[in-house]
């Protein structure tokens, strides 16, 4: 149903976009001349970045050097002093998550906390958590709405279901990656080596949960909002053109802290803990509540449960 005014609009928009594009070419050319060489890095850093190995193949010395380069790069790129570490998985720990959907009220405080904690670009469209607004008595995800924005939540007749990376125990994204830039850590977190990722986005198509996100733009983060506690496999500043995902706040949880989304949740709907510890809260939930997993029939074995009570 295209009216003449619609097509005029389209044409105007196209003309404007073309003008902007041409102008951008000119400006880009000027900027390329004005920018320092090596993308703002020193020659030695750019050289070392180019020959950096995959995370699991690096020696401890090479990892330390890479961490220092990441810190230097963040200072040059964002003007923020960060500390990037490489805390290893604790032995005897496998993380699991549960969400009580009868507690979730759709406030999106978790999304907000996640963006701040994980240095997600403020302008980019990457958000690790999507809170789905669902119709009562309906579990069909195609009927969900995640752009909901009423004056007050919860809305009558709706319930809310946050969706993020399920940290599958048999992750299809890992199988899809052609360069082994993503893998499952011993504590069950599926991580990405952002420096090894080639940006092919096969993992995004393999993931049935819309949990992986692609950085179409260089993430923009104001220096004062940069979270300085970062992890190599977690929330360190990512380059443009790589895939990233929820990593259960690896920089926090490996040190015993709660994930940022859980700490921010005002209703206590989120429960996180060690699946191997029989006395943990998550194990109590799994043993005593009617839990289900999203798209369980796909056999990806998510370590992420939903329940209501």
């Amino acid at each position: 149903m295209t009216t003449s005014s619609d097509s005029d609009d389209e044409r105007n928009r196209f003309d404007k976009a073309r003008r902007n594009f041409l102008r951008g070419l000119g400006l880009g050319g000027a900027a390329a001349v004005a920018q320092p060489a090596w993308g703002g890095a020193t020659f030695s850093d750019a050289f070392a970045d180019f020959f950096q190995q995959q995370y699991k193949r690096m020696t401890p010395e090479e990892i330390d050097a890479a961490l220092e380069r990441i810190e230097r790069k963040a200072e040059r790129r964002y003007g923020a002093v960060i500390n990037c570490d490489n805390t290893q998985a604790q032995p005897g720990v496998v993380f699991g998550y549960a969400i009580n959907i009868s507690r979730c009220k759709g406030y999106r405080d978790c999304v907000n906390a996640c963006v701040e904690e994980n240095n997600l670009g403020r302008d980019s469209q990457v958000q690790y958590i999507r809170v789905l607004q669902m119709n009562n008595g309906d579990a069909n995800l195609e009927h969900s709405e995640h752009y909901y924005d009423p004056a007050e939540v919860p809305v009558e007749g709706k319930y809310y279901m946050p969706v993020q990376c399920m940290q599958c125990d048999d992750p299809p994204c890992v199988k899809a990656c052609p360069v082994e830039a993503t893998w499952m850590e011993p504590d069950g977190i599926v991580v990405v080596d952002y420096d090894w990722c080639i940006g092919c986005r096969y993992c995004m198509t393999a993931c049935p949960y819309w949990a992986r996100h692609f950085n179409w733009t260089e993430p923009e983060i104001p220096a004062e909002e940069m979270n300085p506690d970062t992890h190599y496999l977690g929330n360190r500043p990512r380059p443009k053109g790589v895939v990233e995902k929820c990593h259960f706040c690896i920089q926090r949880t490996r040190k015993g802290r709660q994930p940022a989304c859980m700490e921010a949740c005002p209703t206590g709907a989120r429960i996180f803990g060690n699946l191997l510890d029989a006395d943990s809260e998550i194990r109590y939930v799994l043993a005593n509540k009617q839990v289900y997993r999203l798209k369980e029939d796909l056999g990806t074995e998510p370590k992420f449960w939903y329940f209501s009570d």
């Binding site: 619609d6 609009d9 928009r13 009580n100 009220k105 759709g106 406030y107 999106r108 405080d109 999304v111 907000n112 469209q125 958000q127 999507r130 195609e142 009927h143 995640h146 752009y147 909901y148 924005d149 009423p150 004056a151 007050e152 939540v153 919860p154 179409w216 949880t253 015993g256 802290r257 709660q258 859980m262 700490e263 921010a264 949740c265 005002p266 209703t267 206590g268 429960i271 996180f272 803990g273 060690n274 006395d279 943990s280 809260e281 109590y284 939930v285 005593n288 509540k289 009570d309």
Partner: protein, 225 residues
């Protein structure tokens, strides 16, 4: 206990102000009445007795195998505590009746099945009471709530309800019931959500189009009809 408790409470204020949302609104309600009755309180608090001996904390071991935990204290956040500073000098009246008293919040809990002295002690004015009429400190208020809401209390003790402070590992500190639920009006009030996520590039609404198109599944239903 009280020193570490202060630490925890201040941490809570720093990291999650939204939890105390409900109690705060009731506070503003009471604060309005405070202006009118401020002088009365000043006069009465001068008579309040000091140095009263604290009763021993109530022991509850109803859930075998429950992991240990501390509860974030809340007494220092209570506006009118200690209750005795007024009520010690007032005649006590155990007759069940409707009260509309200055300063105190209205009771919108259990739809009229309970009244003040169902939870507050008559003999020990600075304490709450269980259904067995045992005095309970205000920092152990969960034992009062658990008297009726037993399954919730059990879930809370084991970690399936309520919130744990800061960590998943190590020392376990829980927010008490009243940190999130106003005991006098326990339903959580609706509030505005945070910003909606940005619409993905290429999926924006056309200019001049206010409403989203009818979703596919609704269109299909129309077609079938």
């Amino acid at each position: 206990m009280s020193q570490s408790g202060d630490l925890i409470v201040s941490k809570k204020r720093a990291c999650m102000p939204s939890v105390s949302l409900v109690p705060e609104t009731s506070l503003t309600k009471t604060r309005r009445r405070t202006l009118a009755a401020g002088l009365l309180v000043l006069l009465l608090s001068a008579n309040a007795q000091e140095g009263e001996e604290a009763l021993p904390p109530l022991r509850f071991e109803g859930y075998p195998g429950a992991p240990d935990f501390d509860v974030v204290p809340r007494k220092d956040q209570l506006f009118l505590y200690p209750c005795g500073q007024c009520h010690e000098s007032m005649e006590s009246n155990a007759e069940i009746r409707t009260l509309d008293v200055m300063l105190h919040p209205e009771l919108e809990h259990a739809e009229g099945r309970i009244w003040c002295l169902s939870c507050h002690g008559l003999e020990n004015r600075n304490y709450l009471r269980t259904l067995l009429n045992e005095p309970v400190d205000f920092d152990q208020a969960d034992l009062v709530c658990g008297g009726c809401h037993a399954s919730r209390h059990r879930d809370w003790t084991f970690g399936a309800h309520g919130k744990r402070v800061a960590n998943w590992q190590g020392e376990r500190t829980l927010y008490s019931c009243a940190h999130c639920h106003n005991p006098h009006s326990p339903a959580i009030e609706p509030r505005a959500p945070r910003d909606a996520p940005p619409v993905r590039a290429g999926l924006e609404l056309k200019r001049g189009v206010e409403r989203k198109e009818v979703p596919v599944w609704e269109r299909q239903e129309e077609d079938e009809q």
